[in-house]
Every structure is written in structure tokens, then in C-alpha cells.
């Protein structure tokens, strides 16, 4: 599924060379086999124990946010997918955002830049459900529980999915990145 065109180049200094090699391999997923890290290790020229240690470190420092199955929620029956946007005063948004994140039906919660005057909303939360009414009930529950009644909000349900894929990064040596980036960036 990942064509060459879909692979972006990164020349960051944020990670060591061994880590970059492991990350590049892992983006395509973990091999589903008895000793997956041994397979990764053989592809990147490290040994299994080194790869396990690197992945543990990437998890500890939260470079890996989550590790496991990434579901296609639509295929699993989660058809009602609401992005709820809120206009919360800047000095309260952190408290509200953290509180929203504690509700089991909230799957993501972010603060984003406003685009005034057309878009005053700065807090986003995602609520996925099997039925639209259930999602709306959950939003009501959130408003009551977090005292959000005074803050403007809007509910944007998702319609058609035009594209879904993970962004795939290719770590390259810094000097090669100069050559590779333009190719990766061609937007046609």
C-alpha cells in the first residue's frame, strides 16, 4: 500500500542512527511471527536484544504512543464518528481538556490553534460510537459533567472517508535527504 511516493524523508537529529533504522522498519508494522524483533534486527543489522532495548526506550520516552492493533473503526461498526469542537477560554482549556480525556467514550482530545474570526474553536475531542444518538447522549453527558454549557461548541460528524493511511517516514542520512526530499514532495 505504501508506494514510493507515500514515503516522506526525515533527516532529523532527534534520534540516534540505530533508533532511526528500527523506527523506519517498525512503521510498516511488527512482523507477526514468534520472534518479531529478531526479524527486525536482521533487516537493520542489529541483534535482537538491541532492538528490544530500543523499542522499550522508545515506549518509555513516548516516541511510541501506543503499541498494538490499529483498528479500522468504521469496519468494526463504529460508524458515528463525531469531532466536537469547543471555544474554551485559554486559561481554562487545559483543565477542561484533561477532564474530557478521563471519559471512556472520548478517544482523542487536543488543543488546536483558532482561526479567527471564522473558527473560534480551540479544543477538539473525538467521540466514536455505533449510533449517532448514543454519541449525542455522550456529548450531553460531557457538557453536564464538565460544566460546559456556557461554552460554544459544534458537533461535526464524519461523512465519507476520502483517504486513510498512516504517514510513513523514511529516515535518511542528512546529506542524502537533500536529494530525496524533492522526489518525495512531488504533489501531482
Amino acid at each position: 500500500m505504501n508506494t514510493a511516493r507515500d514515503i516522506l524523508s526525515l533527516s532529523t537529529e532527534a534520534m540516534g542512527d540505530k533508533e532511526k533504522r528500527v523506527v523506519t522498519e517498525l512503521q510498516h508494522g511488527l512482523p507477526i511471527t514468534s520472534r518479531p524483533y529478531a526479524v527486525i534486527a536482521s533487516r537493520v543489522g542489529l541483534d535482537e536484544a538491541e532492538v528490544v532495548a530500543i523499542v522499550q526506550r522508545l515506549r518509555q520516552n513516548l516516541t511510541i504512543k501506543r503499541f498494538g492493533v490499529i483498528v479500522r473503526h468504521h469496519e468494526l461498526g463504529y460508524r458515528a464518528n463525531a469531532m466536537v469542537v469547543w471555544d474554551i477560554p485559554d486559561n481554562q482549556v487545559a483543565d477542561v481538556g484533561q477532564k474530557m480525556g478521563t471519559f471512556s467514550f472520548v478517544t482523542l482530545c487536543y488543543r488546536r490553534a483558532r482561526q479567527l474570526p471564522e473558527w473560534p474553536y480551540n479544543l477538539y475531542c473525538m467521540i466514536h460510537g455505533r449510533e449517532q444518538q448514543r454519541v449525542l447522549d455522550n456529548i450531553d453527558h460531557l457538557i453536564r459533567s464538565c460544566d460546559l454549557k456556557i461554552f460554544p461548541h459544534e458537533v461535526l460528524f464524519s461523512g465519507r472517508r476520502f483517504k486513510q493511511r498512516g504517514a510513513v517516514y523514511q529516515y535518511v542520512e542528512a546529506e542524502r535527504a537533500v536529494d530525496l526530499c524533492p522526489t518525495a514532495r512531488v504533489g501531482n
Binding site: 514468534s34 518479531p36 501506543r66 469496519e75 461498526g77 488546536r112 460528524f157 472517508r161 486513510q164 504533489g187
Partner: protein, 148 residues
């Protein structure tokens, strides 16, 4: 079709996967399956497209990359041609229609902020519509877990 074992596998594996030499054997034990039963079922769920991927979800910014969410207001008659332009950029990951005047929402991931700005400028130039950039300022919660 998924059965109760498949559901248990999906629910368990969204919670986190052990990082050790033989992680599938460890998870199989938790689910009272053999290692090969687990890997066979997992591969089938991937092949059927129920699962998108098995592996890590990376924090793009910590990897040195940049990501943003952008929105556009596109009249219905222009929708198809605009979508084609947007999806033509490899930096665009997800792209969804939403029920709002701001009806197109997509994620742009690139190596630098300048590259993201280039994509935005490119889309605006080629469609004639404004791209509203809504960059993330704080992440309060990332669960993205679905009980099945």
C-alpha cells in the same frame, strides 16, 4: 466473520503489547490460545482489513516530523476536483468529509513546518479555496481504543 476469540484479541491488543523476545507467546498465554493460533488469527484480521496495522503508533513530533490538521469549505460542485488535488499530495494522510460548512478535514504530515506550509500553499493555489490550518498546541488524551 469475527468471533468472540477475535474480539478478545482486538480488545486485548489495543491495551498495549509486551516488548520482549516472544511477545505473541506471552499474549497468547493471557488469552488461553497457543502462539500460532494467535498469529494466524491476527494475520487473518489484517488480511480482511478489520485491522489497519499491527505495531507502534508513533508520536510524529518526537520523531522529528510535523503534523497538522487542516480544513476547507468546499461547495458541493467542486468537491471531487478539490479532493483529487488534496489526495494527490503524499503528505496528506487522512481526509474526511464532515457535516459542517467546514466540510473537508485532512491531516498533513511532513518533515518540516515549511514543508507543511508548502502543501497548504500548493492546495490553495491549485484549488482557489482557502486552507484553514489548525495546528495542534497540546495533546490532552490519545486513547483511540475501540471495544468490539
Amino acid at each position: 466473520m469475527m468471533d468472540t476469540v477475535d474480539r478478545a484479541i482486538i480488545n486485548t491488543l489495543q491495551e498495549g503489547f509486551p516488548v520482549c523476545d516472544q511477545p505473541f507467546a506471552k499474549v497468547a498465554g493471557m488469552l488461553s490460545l497457543t502462539e500460532s493460533e494467535l498469529t494466524t488469527r491476527l494475520q487473518a484480521l489484517l488480511d480482511e482489513g478489520v485491522l489497519n496495522r499491527f505495531g507502534p503508533l508513533f508520536h510524529t513530533e518526537r520523531m522529528g516530523g510535523c503534523v497538522t490538521l487542516a480544513a476547507m469549505k468546499i461547495p458541493k460542485s467542486y468537491l471531487h476536483s478539490v479532493i483529487r488535488v488534496i489526495n494527490g499530495f503524499p503528505e496528506v494522510a487522512h481526509n474526511y468529509e464532515r457535516t459542517h460548512e467546514f466540510n473537508i478535514w485532512f491531516v498533513i504530515a511532513a518533515e518540516t513546518l515549511a514543508a507543511i506550509d508548502d502543501v497548504i500553499a500548493g492546495i490553495e493555489q491549485r484549488t482557489g479555496f482557502i486552507v484553514y490550518n489548525m495546528p495542534k498546541e497540546r495533546e490532552y488524551f490519545v486513547g483511540l481504543k475501540f471495544k468490539v
